[in-house]
């Protein structure tokens, strides 16, 4: 068991954001966290990477209490791709990626040739090696997101937390980024907006609604027309796609279907 969350609750002031979250991630799994807007997906993840402090509950990472670890120890085990990727200052692409090396650095360490190699390798992995000297600020949204993925690769953790990593991206980038992550072969917990993407890449799915986990299981078990209607309030048709062999969801506009 890599990650085990038990009874995690968090509230913004008096409003409960998430309540009694229990979630398990096994080694090598790709776990999706889905749910409507405002259901608490990001809040759960932020509690894991300590941008928020849970009111109660425990999180064990590799049988160690996550909240007892220092920020640095946690950063050596957990890589995070969050939703904020704007940097209001001038940095080169390679400098941003090199920041992924910082948890490996002691106070007086400088960047070595080995770090350079890792950074270069990470950029290569995403086909961005010729952009290394470009200014990060001037990249497009999709390119920025790829740089952030390269940074998390340079961080060399074997557990990734992704918070809607393909939000606002073109479909080609969406597939590309999930393919990259899948190819890394690491354990992943990702909030995903698009249900078809979740069906394509996830081994198991947790469904959040109003801050509570209401369903969990394989995509086939979770993504049924009845479940989707009860969580999202939309009608759809679900088939197993002949090429992918995965669940494919077609949403039905009002007036069509049953």
């Amino acid at each position: 068991m890599r990650l085990q969350i038990e009874n995690l609750s968090f509230s913004y002031g008096s409003i409960d954001a998430v309540e009694d979250i229990c979630l398990k991630v096994k080694k090598g799994e790709f776990i999706g966290l889905i749910g409507p807007n405002g259901s608490g997906k990001s809040t759960v993840l932020k509690n894991l990477y300590r941008a928020l402090k849970p009111d109660k509950g425990s999180v064990m990472l590799d049988n160690e209490n996550l909240f007892a670890m220092s920020h640095k120890e946690a950063a050596l085990k957990l890589g995070v791709v969050g939703q904020e990727n704007e940097v209001p200052f001038e940095f080169k692409v390679e400098e941003i990626v090199a920041m992924g090396r910082s948890p490996h650095k002691k106070l007086f360490d400088i960047d070595t040739a080995e770090d350079k190699r890792i950074v270069h390798h990470a950029l290569e992995h995403l086909g961005m090696e010729n952009m290394a000297k470009r200014s990060y600020q001037n990249l497009s949204g999709g390119e920025k997101q790829r740089v952030i993925i390269a940074r998390v690769i340079a961080q060399e953790t074997d557990f990734l937390i992704l918070d809607e990593p393909t939000n606002h991206l073109d479909i080609s980038y969406q597939l590309q980024i999930f393919d990259f992550v899948k190819r890394l072969g690491v354990t992943v917990l990702s909030a995903i907006h698009d249900l078809n993407m979740a069906a394509l890449y996830c081994d198991r799915i947790y469904v959040l609604k109003n801050g509570k986990i209401v369903l969990s299981g394989t995509p086939e078990e979770v993504l049924t027309p009845e479940n989707i209607y009860s969580v999202y309030g939309v009608r759809c048709d679900v088939t197993i796609h002949p090429i992918t062999g995965k669940v494919a969801i077609t949403f039905l506009p009002a007036g069509m279907g049953i």
């Binding site: 920020h71 890589g79 904020e84 001038e90 920041m99 948890p103 190699r117 961080q155």
Partner: protein
């Protein structure tokens, strides 16, 4: 293998590049110091300045023929040298404070003057000076009271400009303006009700910034504080870089954000305190210098910190030359000149900032 070698080359080249820029700037600084010492209402040639300085070195006494006038020596050693050295230290400190505060609030418009921190330091320092409130603190009472003032203001500005856990830039700038007006008001009230006539002159000094009246005794504390703070910041350069990514990303990359931010608040207020105590409020240096530094070397704090410090020193000693030459024999406060140069730049940056926001 080839790639690895190329990367090693790359690394070497990059390191030597920064080293090169820093060495050039150190040379420029030394030359600037020598020239600036000579410039003023009474001009001493750089050649004579060098001779007078060499004459000071133990063992060299009398080696160089005594060709300069005693008056020149008095001006150089008694007035100009301490003033230029102090100017350099103040300039370097202001630039480094700017860099620190910009990392803290994650915005390149931050500056101790704009955010009212200098005014806060000046207000409490005036209080200490005129009424002897902090006399029990001994020799450094002025610096310590200025430090208390800057620490209070910086925390205040930082707290009120947060909207839902994030620094809101409009809130930040407006609260900075409001606080600096309040603090300048406080400084005036204190000086107007001052028990001695000295007060009025000093209030002007605090509010417009000046290096006139520099003494050797003023130099030690700002220099020591600058060196210590610079060392602390350089050790934490990775943390400073990561803070620019945002609190959440910095935390996820292993930085204890709350702790680092507290450290930055401490460093910035300490440096502002000791700087304001010796030079009053000299504005916009912390805004201009880091900005130009980033244009040259990018955002990496390992480069930005030392280069900003040197450029800040160079800028302030030259502006101070202008301050004592422009309306000689009268003195112009150096802070007024930096405001005239820096203000337009600030407006330009602000314009650009909003344009970028609108473009997204």
């Amino acid at each position: 293998m080839k790639i690895i070698n190329a990367q090693k080359e790359d690394l070497k080249q990059e390191t030597s590049n920064i080293g090169g820029i820093i060495s050039i700037l150190i040379v420029v600084s030394l030359i600037s110091i020598l020239i600036c010492i000579g410039l003023g209402p009474v001009t001493v040639t750089p050649g004579n300045v060098v001779k007078i300085l060499i004459n000071l070195i133990p063992g060299f006494d009398g080696v160089i023929p005594h060709t300069w006038e005693q008056l020149d020596q008095n001006i150089v050693l008694g007035l100009r040298l301490p003033r230029v050295c102090l100017g350099f230290v103040v300039g370097a400190s202001l630039a480094v404070i700017g860099v620190t505060m910009q990392a803290l609030v994650r915005n390149h418009l931050a500056d101790p003057f704009i955010l009212g921190v200098s005014s806060g330091a000046a207000a409490v320092a005036t209080l200490g000076m005129l009424f002897g409130v902090f006399a029990f603190l001994g020799k450094y009472y002025l610096s310590i009271s200025a430090f208390i003032g800057s620490a209070i203001t910086i925390i205040f500005v930082y707290v009120i400009s947060q909207v839902r856990g994030r620094i809101n830039i409009t809130q930040l700038l407006l609260s900075g303006v409001a606080i600096s007006m309040i603090m300048d008001g406080v400084t005036r009230i204190i000086t107007l009700s001052a028990p001695n006539a000295l007060g009025l002159h000093n209030a002007t000094f605090w509010m417009s910034g000046s290096l006139a009246g520099a003494k050797w005794g003023y130099l030690t504390l700002p220099l020591v504080v600058l060196l210590i703070c610079m060392a602390v910041l350089m050790v934490n350069y990775r943390g400073l870089n990561l803070l620019l990514l945002g609190d959440e990303s910095a935390g996820a990359l292993g930085i204890n954000v709350a702790k680092l931010q507290k450290l930055l608040i401490l460093v910035a207020s300490l440096m502002t305190g000791v700087t304001v105590a010796v030079s009053g409020t000299i504005g916009f240096v912390g805004l201009m210098v880091p900005h130009f530094t980033r244009l040259i070397v990018g955002g990496d704090h390992r480069k930005v910190l030392p280069i900003s410090a040197l450029l800040g020193g160079i800028l302030v000693i030259w502006v101070d030359v202008a301050a004592r030459m422009l309306i000689a024999p009268e003195e112009m406060p150096v802070g007024i000149l930096t405001a005239i140069i820096g203000g337009p730049l600030f407006i330009w940056l602000l314009k650009r900032n909003t344009k970028e926001k609108a473009g997204r």
